[in-house]
């Protein structure tokens, strides 16, 4: 099995999933790159079952209708850590970033979780359908006040964000288009729902109130008609800016960090050629996200080593990938909600983004406090040789009786998922480890424990490097 094939698979799994332990990389590399892409894109068609949540709900009944934010984020975190269908969760994470909806205002954790479930269901289908589902999504309606968007008193919040943040981007529409867009979505509201103050939450429901809909003529993006919400989405889908905007989001999330979204109006794409290929794939597939991701993952620009490790891991990617690597929480035990809280300590409170713009990504994930938190979290896990994933790394390195400092460092880098360090950092690590006593597998229990501790120390050192923050 060629080393580059495995490294490329590790790159794919970092982007289309949350990384993979060595055994999974070996299995997938043996299966083949394109076959793995197909499985990730359409797991149901390849016999990959959805995550079975029954034991989770038995152990943690509070996750069935997550009445508080801790349960809600804990539940999604559990899904991301355990899913056999990682791209479904990853695409949900992308749409959560793009269509950022926060429980801080919605104040209904089960509804925010239902929005994520909607992303899981529709997130790899057509973008038009996704926007229609989004426009009808109760949490989104409440988040952007569309229940206050009345025939006689329009509210422009949803209409504005649909154009600015969810489809075309600034500079491609006028203020008048925003107003007309809002008019088209009057009457898209919420049905009265039982308050959750007695017997836990009841699902909110979308309601189309024809009497409160402004059925008058509208002029939107140069077209004239008595448009309703879906007509407006159709016009948006036909505008060239939409393909470019969605393409840039897909590039930013799956290929390499871009500048922050508000700068897209002024700054050209990082890789204009790749952005054009993605935009063309969107148009050619009628905005089918699955087809477009297939083009991306099989493209030269995605496989190019220039874009490997060209993204700063989001806190969610960092935490979930660490948990999947070390295989913590494989056995059910109390406390998964604390892992859900961990990303918030690192600056990404999932289900609670800071604003409708979502989080600033890339380098902005890192500040001195967040960096310390990130390093400590991962180091604590990879340093725990009782965890199955760490035990597996130690066992694999035990194949050889004596390891040089270089072999120990390189072996750990490989087994952490083909992590790539700069030559300087790698050399520095090797020199540091050279000062230790020789890494010898040994025969006695005491020697084996010492060997495991040494491996764990190297893993901790690697996860504390600048490069480990990149994915």
């Amino acid at each position: 099995m060629a080393d580059r094939d495995m490294a490329l698979m590790a790159h794919l799994m970092r982007r289309a999933g949350f990384g993979a332990a060595r055994s999974e990389l070996e299995r997938r590399t043996a299966k083949g790159y394109e076959a793995t892409v197909e499985e990730l894109l359409d797991p149901a068609a390849h016999g990959v079952p959805p995550l079975d949540t029954s034991v989770l709900f038995r152990q943690t009944p509070g996750f069935r209708i997550p009445g508080n934010p801790e349960n809600a984020s804990g539940y999604w975190m559990y899904r991301m850590i355990h899913t056999p269908r990682p791209l479904e969760e990853k695409i949900s994470l992308l749409w959560h970033q793009v269509f950022a909806t926060a429980n801080s205002k919605v104040n209904n954790p089960p509804e925010v979780v239902r929005q994520i479930e909607m992303f899981r269901e529709y997130g790899m289908g057509g973008y038009r359908r996704l926007l229609v589902e989004l426009a009808k999504n109760p949490a989104m309606i409440f988040w952007l006040d569309n229940q206050e968007n009345h025939k006689d008193a329009p509210n422009e919040n949803w209409g504005r964000e649909l154009l600015e943040l969810f489809s075309m981007g600034q500079g491609n529409y006028t203020e008048e288009d925003v107003k007309e867009c809002a008019r088209a979505f009057t009457g898209w509201t919420l049905a009265p729902t039982l308050p959750g103050v007695l017997y836990n939450r009841f699902p909110w429901q979308f309601k189309y109130d024809a009497e409160d809909h402004d059925d008058g003529e509208k002029v939107f993006l140069g077209q004239k008609g008595r448009f309703n919400g879906e007509d407006v989405i159709d016009i948006i889908m036909g505008h060239p800016a939409t393909a470019q905007f969605v393409a840039r989001h897909l590039y930013n999330f799956f290929v390499a960090d871009e500048v922050q979204v508000p700068s897209w109006q002024d700054e050209p794409p990082r890789d204009p050629e790749a952005a054009a290929i993605i935009a063309e794939a969107l148009v050619a597939s009628d905005f089918d996200i699955r087809s477009t991701l297939r083009v991306i993952f099989n493209s030269d620009f995605f496989k190019d080593e220039e874009v490997w490790f060209a993204k700063v891991k989001s806190p969610t990617e960092l935490v979930v990938s660490a948990m999947r690597l070390v295989q913590d929480f494989q056995e059910y035990r109390p406390g998964i909600w604390t892992i859900g809280m961990e990303t918030s300590y690192q600056g990404q409170a999932i289900l609670n983004p800071p604003s409708v713009e979502g989080w600033h990504t890339g380098q902005e994930w890192i500040d001195s406090g967040a960096l310390l938190q990130r390093i400590n979290f991962v180091a604590d896990r990879v340093g725990d040789v009782s965890l199955p994933g760490v035990r597996d790394i130690v066992k694999r390195l035990s194949d050889k009786n004596v390891l040089s400092a270089g072999e120990l460092v390189d072996g750990c880098l490989d087994l952490l998922g083909h992590v790539r360090l700069t030559d300087d950092t790698r050399q520095e690590l090797i020199e540091h480890v050279s000062g230790w006593e020789e890494a010898r597998r040994g025969e006695t229990e005491e020697e084996r424990v010492a060997f495991g501790a040494k491996v764990a120390d190297v893993l901790k050192l690697i996860t504390a490097t600048r490069e480990y923050q990149l994915g």
Binding site: V55, T60, N71, P192, Y199
Partner: protein, 333 residues
């Protein structure tokens, strides 16, 4: 609800006990000799304050005991509760692998006495005979020995009430007498044992000594079919009640396994506490008045435990709705 009349019996919704102010994910129910109801709350992440509520069947709160924690008298992942003839309550904890014993006859006067009535604990973690791995359901037989299902060891073990091992049977599998993560269990008037075989979507019936007798239900979502059943109770006529946890309903069978009725939850009347809440909170009451479809509020969500008393009452822990729904069975007149 429309009463369900079937083969000489009538099943009717009676009333609802509790709400969010009283319960957090109730997973276990117990009855004592005076027909007091004990509701065991699992709690949830970030909100573990609820332990066991001792209640009258008409919603009077007599007191609370237990609570979240690892120290003596507390529990982390409680699963079930039984009360013996002397008024001692036994609570199983599937994470700490222990049975905690409380004096439930203590006069509470509605107070939360936390650990004040705690007496002792027993249980050791493991898979050897006499050890416990994730104790799930509990039931007392006529001699007041204790059957315990273990979801981790996929078996049923029997102990004296002070923890002396007597016997065990069953192993992991789907054949007769085998289990997958068994949960609730009960003993009928003849001393036979019924086990909710959660992962096998059935209830199995055994002799007191663990010999397989029969199986109820079949995998599925239709009437009489089961999906991940969590608990079972048998009334004085031998009718069998099963909480179909995975499909949010309760199935009722006769002693021979014939299907009698499916209950989906009928909480058309608010509990006393809910009525009191709405009287005091006008804004929430007004929001309710705008609702046209109350049906979602009637239905079970994750019914987890079921108990029957000697007066035809059927108590169902409607776990994710944070309440107990009570039905009655009467003879068809």
């Amino acid at each position: 609800m429309e009463a369900i009349s079937t083969r000489g019996r009538v099943f009717r919704y009676s009333h609802t006990i509790g709400n969010v102010s009283l319960f957090r994910y109730p997973v276990g129910l117990g009855l004592d000799a005076d027909n007091n109801l004990y509701v065991l709350n699992r709690g949830h992440d970030g909100d573990w304050i609820f332990g066991v509520n001792k209640m009258t069947v008409d919603e009077g709160l007599l007191g609370k005991f237990g609570g979240n924690g690892e120290s003596d008298g507390r529990f982390l992942w409680p699963t079930s509760i039984v009360v013996d003839g002397a008024g001692l309550a036994y609570v199983a904890d599937e994470w700490l692998n222990r049975i905690s014993v409380y004096d439930a006859t203590v006069e509470f006067n509605g107070a939360d006495i936390a650990e004040g009535n705690y007496l002792r604990k027993w249980g050791a973690a493991g898979s050897e005979e006499g050890q416990l791995n994730a104790p799930a359901g509990m039931a007392l037989d006529e001699a007041e020995d204790l059957y315990i299902s273990e979801q981790g060891n996929h078996r049923v073990s029997k102990f004296t009430r002070d923890g002396r091992f007597l016997m065990s049977f069953g192993s992991e599998g789907s054949g007769a007498g085998e289990f997958r993560k068994p949960w609730g269990l009960t003993v009928d008037g003849q001393g036979c044992l019924y086990v909710a075989d959660w992962g096998n979507h059935r209830v199995q019936k055994f002799t007191a000594g663990g010999e397989y007798l029969a199986s109820f239900g079949a995998p599925g979502s239709g009437a009489g079919e089961l999906n991940l059943p969590s608990d079972v109770a048998v009334d004085e006529d031998g009718d069998v009640y099963v909480t179909d946890w995975g499909r949010d309903k309760v199935e009722v069978y006769d002693a021979g396994g014939g299907h009698l009725a499916s209950l989906y939850g009928d909480a058309e009347n608010l509990s006393k506490r809910s009525r009191e809440y709405l009287e005091l909170n006008i804004a929430d009451n007004e929001k309710r008045q705008m609702v046209t479809n109350f049906e979602p509020e009637f239905r079970f969500t994750m019914p987890t435990a079921v108990e029957v008393d000697g007066q035809g009452r059927i108590f169902i822990a409607d776990s994710a709705r944070l309440r107990v729904q009570v039905y009655r069975k009467d003879a068809q007149g």
